[in-house]
Symmetry: C2
Subunit: 254 residues, 2 copies
């Protein structure tokens, strides 16, 4: 929106920004696809008429967004900077740090998780394959181990929810679910470790997972959505209660 005078100051875009834009243009227009290679940094720099440093800063941005693989040295077939298409890592990192900056609190995240996972659950119910179900059941079996350390349980829990998202066969839902889950991993783990009545809670989680899994297997989309909804909100209630007791206040800024 222009300001009152209709004029706004020019923002000179920096060299590396223009490099990012060029690459993104090529991707948007379909010129660059997953697996394609960008020119070597030195060549690319001279092609674009900028310094190698500018190119490198641009490549770092693209890599951080999951657009490029970690570059490899040498002359091999996949040496250099290769177009990737792995949004999850960047997405997760981005969400995690913004969660830490308290742009998003746990209530908001829970609400979004419920929305996304309800959708995953009902899609999964209508189209999960046998191998999807087998994967989910295998994870649940491993979670039944009473001697499992908390962090392993938490990781398996994460894997289960990711398996559910994958069963929905929707990569965006999967990526968002994975990213959000990754972003709050530490928070959840902390909650797990502080649990007052841990065994009861863990058993409740196991029962809810089984029941969700059953609903998916039976193809009951509505029940699957409701199960995952109750499951997430239930644990969130316990977790936020636990966390509030152990960290009553965030320390004030200096």
């Amino acid at each position: 929106m222009p300001d009152a005078t209709g004029w706004q100051p020019l923002i000179r875009s920096r060299a590396w920004e223009q490099v990012v834009d060029r690459v993104e243009e090529k991707i948007l227009s379909g010129d660059l696809r997953i697996g394609d290679r960008l020119p070597p940094e030195r060549d690319f720099a001279s092609m674009l008429g900028v310094s190698r440093a500018a190119v490198r800063e641009a490549l770092r941005v693209l890599e951080a967004h999951g657009v490029l693989h970690r570059p490899r040295v040498g002359t091999g077939r996949d040496s250099g900077s290769v177009i990737a298409g792995t949004p999850t890592t960047g997405l997760s990192r981005l969400l995690r740090v913004h969660v830490a900056l308290s742009n998003f609190d746990l209530d908001e995240i829970t609400e979004a998780r419920v929305a996304l996972e309800r959708a995953s659950a009902s899609l999964a119910a209508s189209q999960a394959t046998e191998s999807d179900l087998a994967r989910m059941r295998e994870l649940l079996d491993r979670m039944d181990d009473e001697t499992l350390p908390r962090d392993r349980f938490n990781d398996l829990d994460t894997d289960f929810h990711m398996a559910l998202a994958e069963a929905a066969d929707n990569r965006l839902l999967t990526a968002l679910t994975t990213a959000i889950r990754g972003a709050i991993r530490h928070t959840l783990l902390h909650a797990f470790e502080q649990l007052a009545d841990a065994d009861a809670v863990l058993n409740a989680l196991r029962r809810q997972h089984r029941s969700l899994c059953e609903a998916v297997a039976q193809g009951d989309a509505d029940r699957a959505a409701d199960e995952v909804d109750r499951h997430i909100r239930g644990f969130h209630r316990i977790a936020s209660h636990t966390l509030n007791r152990s960290m009553p206040r965030t320390p004030p800024a200096c």
Copy 2:
């Protein structure tokens, strides 16, 4: 997951990655908050024992993720790199480029939109303020203008959906909705411009918006969710049909 031998190759992390990690640690631990300043690049580099280039590459990554404001030169109060907390820009850019890389197709995106906006709509229905409703109605009034160019209509449509998300008072839902909408802005605009029976479609959209807005105003969460669901799926059906006719195939890779 470790490989069969239980050993996996070390991945030496690069200098700039360690810088990013340091900054993120400080954010995760609460040491750095929104508005705080990082040291000047030169000082920061010598503090961390790396070159200025490494620091700069790290700052670019953080900036791309919306963690830092665009740095300002000079000695002013907000000169240098300031912690930001603006996830939407980075999120949108990230999603857009991954949409272009066909990591996500329009069906998947629509499903995710429906999931997120159903949640927004029902939350909004239960807690929208008068000013939220006024904002939404004002946008709808402006969309009634028959002479509006298609791109303006599209932008107002976007604004309406963002206003809905904001009425839900959940910043994560808002950020995700905005980012996804931004990622498919061009696609939707293209669909708008290719519409066969444009007036009929636009009028249908207007009716659906009004009816959604009414449901929110009446506090009817379930109806609001269903309205937005039908609205999004309906337009998606038309849009994908239109787009398929105008661009029957993506050209094969060379």
